[in-house]
């Protein structure tokens, strides 16, 4: 076989593989959208589940997921951004930074179920929060910390050093430089991390299994020590252990579609912001 033909064959194979991956994505998305779109309407989004979760809507689960998003971000976003600022602006390039980076990487590699175990041992049992929005938000917050730290660091790294030295030359202190020059410029990209973590929080199931999620709870939470339903756990429940799995299938498709829509919107927003940011820095 000549080297030209082997190249041709190899390249055809690679193109097919590329198509295959897109095909898989379209298959999954198409399947969920096709089956779920008919279920989604205003009532589905705004009413509670009924008849053993075989009819009605998913409103309590949506509210629960919103609570968890807000809770985990209030906790993790400031902490993550500060951590990112420290490693990129203050810590220099020594062993401490290397150690911190390795630890951040390690934390992001820990499986979500281990976060669930940890959250249960620390927040639910040791601190005595019980199964609550607080315990769930803290657990999820730890899970998204590495993501926020990393996006913050990358956003800061993208700011050319000339801006920093310029500001310093005008007599500004380091903190002033960071506050008035670096952070405002890096802001849109830091927000990208925030948005991506919304996607992550709304989809994670394992960490909330034992820290907050309620099997069935049609009323809305009244405080941070209440349990809530959450979209991903709700999907898991009605897909595997509901009272009548066949009858609740449409609801499951609807819930899956809502989850996927959140991810789609979040990714689009993040992509848009990144483009906006790239233009601004130029």
């Amino acid at each position: 076989m000549s080297k030209k033909t082997s190249q041709k064959i190899a390249f055809i194979v690679f193109r097919l593989l590329g198509c295959l991956v897109v095909g898989i994505l379209l298959w999954i998305l198409g399947f969920i959208i096709y089956n779920g779109i008919g279920v989604i309407n205003w009532e589905f989004l705004t009413s509670a589940p009924e008849d053993g979760m075989t009819s009605g809507g998913i409103f309590p689960a949506i509210v629960g997921t919103l609570c968890l998003i807000v809770g985990s971000i209030i906790f993790a976003f400031p902490l993550g951004v500060m951590s990112g600022i420290y490693t990129n602006e203050y810590a220099g390039n020594g062993y401490i930074v290397k150690f911190i980076r390795i630890m951040t990487n390690n934390l992001s590699g820990i499986p979500s179920i281990v976060f669930g175990l940890f959250g249960m041992a620390l927040f639910v049992n040791t601190f005595g929060f019980g199964d609550s929005i607080l315990a769930g938000s803290l657990t999820l917050g730890l899970l998204i910390l590495p993501l926020i730290i990393r996006t913050t660091e990358e956003a800061l790294k993208a700011i050319p050093n000339t801006y920093r030295t310029g500001s310093m030359a005008l007599g500004a202190s380091k903190l002033q430089t960071i506050r008035k020059v670096v952070l405002p410029m890096a802001f849109p990209n830091i927000i990208t991390g925030l948005i991506l973590s919304i996607g992550r929080v709304s989809g994670e199931t394992a960490p909330i299994l034992f820290t907050v999620a309620a099997y069935f709870l049609p009323k809305l939470p009244s405080g941070i020590f209440d349990q809530v339903m959450a979209l991903p756990y709700h999907l898991y429940v009605i897909a595997t252990s509901g009272t009548d799995i066949e009858a609740s299938r449409p609801i499951a498709y609807g819930t899956a579609l809502v989850l996927i829509s959140i991810v789609l919107i979040v990714n689009l927003l993040a992509a848009f912001l990144r483009k906006y940011f790239a233009r601004k820095v130029k």
Binding site: L17, I110, V114
Partner: protein, 403 residues
């Protein structure tokens, strides 16, 4: 004077901010430390738990030479798999509840005050009997009866045991081998599927795809990474599982293979992104040198680009494995969750994360079952730490090449 004071206050303020920032810089290390402490504190407790159900003891006749039994032996005795103490001496297993069919409530006395005595009589009457009874009713001061000393669960019971039956009586079985093998089995085949696919796509993206195609493919892959695992699990449950059942003509579709397929799809984005990154970073001079000596594009790819990116590909594989081993919900939903030693790809298996997710809700807090699940968490934690570290090593190798 006033200016100096102001400058002093500002300096002080800046120092405080720096200290706060430094503290938050250490947050991830602190969290990891906490995770280690809490996981291991609960997990290690398992090895301080007795082999029989808490609050119960095993009694035998005093003439019985037996000194101690492993959890697995106890289970086999009560399941009728071990039937003789020695040749010719048939074991008579006795459970506490059976006493109520031998004696009426009146015979057992008011508030069961005679229960201990009657239990003693039953055990003393048969030299081949082994009785499983609550500690508070144990006939401890009868000379004819020997109460077996309560041993603790050992490392060997846990890591060498082949049965996972945490709620079995009298002795719960915490053998972790089937779960570890199940996890490795499912993840191994997932990577076997995802690796060629992922590398192919990475080559395509970094070498062949035109800019517009890349602009479509990259976000598509990011999306694939963003889909929640429970949605993958649901998709697997309603599409992949029935498909496998039909195609391979199986009694159930919830198999290790279904888990591997779903995990392969989930590991793809990780593998593709990292491998592509490494390939794109191949220095232009190396490619041009290869073209210069007459190599085709394809030859350049597999003789220059792929070897150059090998460490990056290593990182990709290792992180892909990490993703697969730790994945919980999708696997829980499609693998059937039978805690048996895996023999084929087309049987139900159960992984470590799925076991934790499925059982922690029912395990009473602080009990042996609860602790065993934390021990599983420790195993997962150690595996993923090793994966993170080896990824780090590969990554450093790749970066050193760039210099």
């Amino acid at each position: 004077m006033e200016n100096e004071l102001k400058a002093g206050i500002r300096k002080f303020f800046e120092r405080i901010v720096k200290a706060i920032l430094a503290l938050s810089g250490g947050i991830t290390s602190f969290v990891i430390l906490l995770i280690i402490i809490f996981l291991f504190k609960e997990g290690i407790g398992l090895f301080k738990s007795p082999v029989v159900e808490k609050g119960y003891v095993l009694c035998v006749h005093a003439s019985n030479p037996i000194k101690q039994l492993t959890p697995y032996q106890i289970k086999q005795i009560y399941d009728g798999e071990i039937t003789e103490w020695e040749v010719g001496k048939l074991i008579v297993p006795f459970r506490f509840e059976e006493i109520f069919s031998l004696y009426s409530d009146e015979e057992l006395g008011e508030d069961y005050s005679l229960l201990t005595e009657k239990l003693g009589e039953v055990v003393a009457a048969d030299s081949n009997m082994i009785a499983f009874i609550p500690e508070q009713y144990a006939p401890s001061n009868q000379p004819d009866i020997k109460i077996l000393p309560t041993e603790n669960i050992t490392f060997a019971d846990f890591f060498g045991g082949k049965e996972w039956m945490p709620t079995s009586l009298p002795a719960p079985q915490f053998g972790v081998l089937p779960l570890i093998l199940g996890t490795l089995w499912v993840s191994f085949f997932a990577i076997l599927i995802a690796l060629p696919l992922g590398l192919g796509v990475a080559v395509y993206l970094s070498e062949l795809a035109s800019e517009p195609v890349r602009k479509i493919l990259k976000p598509a892959i990011e999306l694939l990474a963003g889909i929640p695992s429970v949605v993958y699990g649901f998709f697997g449950l309603v599409v992949i599982v029935p498909l496998i059942q039909r195609v391979f003509d199986l009694p159930v579709g919830e198999t290790a293979f279904a888990g591997s397929l779903i995990l392969a799809i989930m590991a793809l984005p990780t593998i593709i992104t990292i491998a592509e990154d490494a390939m794109r970073n191949t220095p232009k001079t190396m490619r041009e040198a290869s073209f210069g000596v007459g190599a085709t594009h394809w030859q350049t790819i597999y003789r220059v680009v792929i070897p150059y990116a090998s460490s990056g590909i290593g990182t990709a594989v290792v992180l892909g494995i990490g993703r697969a081993i730790g994945e919980t919900m999708a696997v829980l939903m499609v693998t059937g969750n039978a805690a048996v030693m895996p023999h084929s790809l087309f049987e139900p298996v159960r992984t470590i994360p799925a076991t934790i997710a499925a059982e922690l809700g029912e395990a009473p807090t602080g009990g042996a079952h609860y602790q065993s699940l934390f021990m599983l968490g420790c195993i997962l934690f150690i595996i993923t730490m090793m994966i993170s570290i080896s990824a780090e090593i590969f990554n450093r190798k790749q970066q050193n090449k760039g210099v």
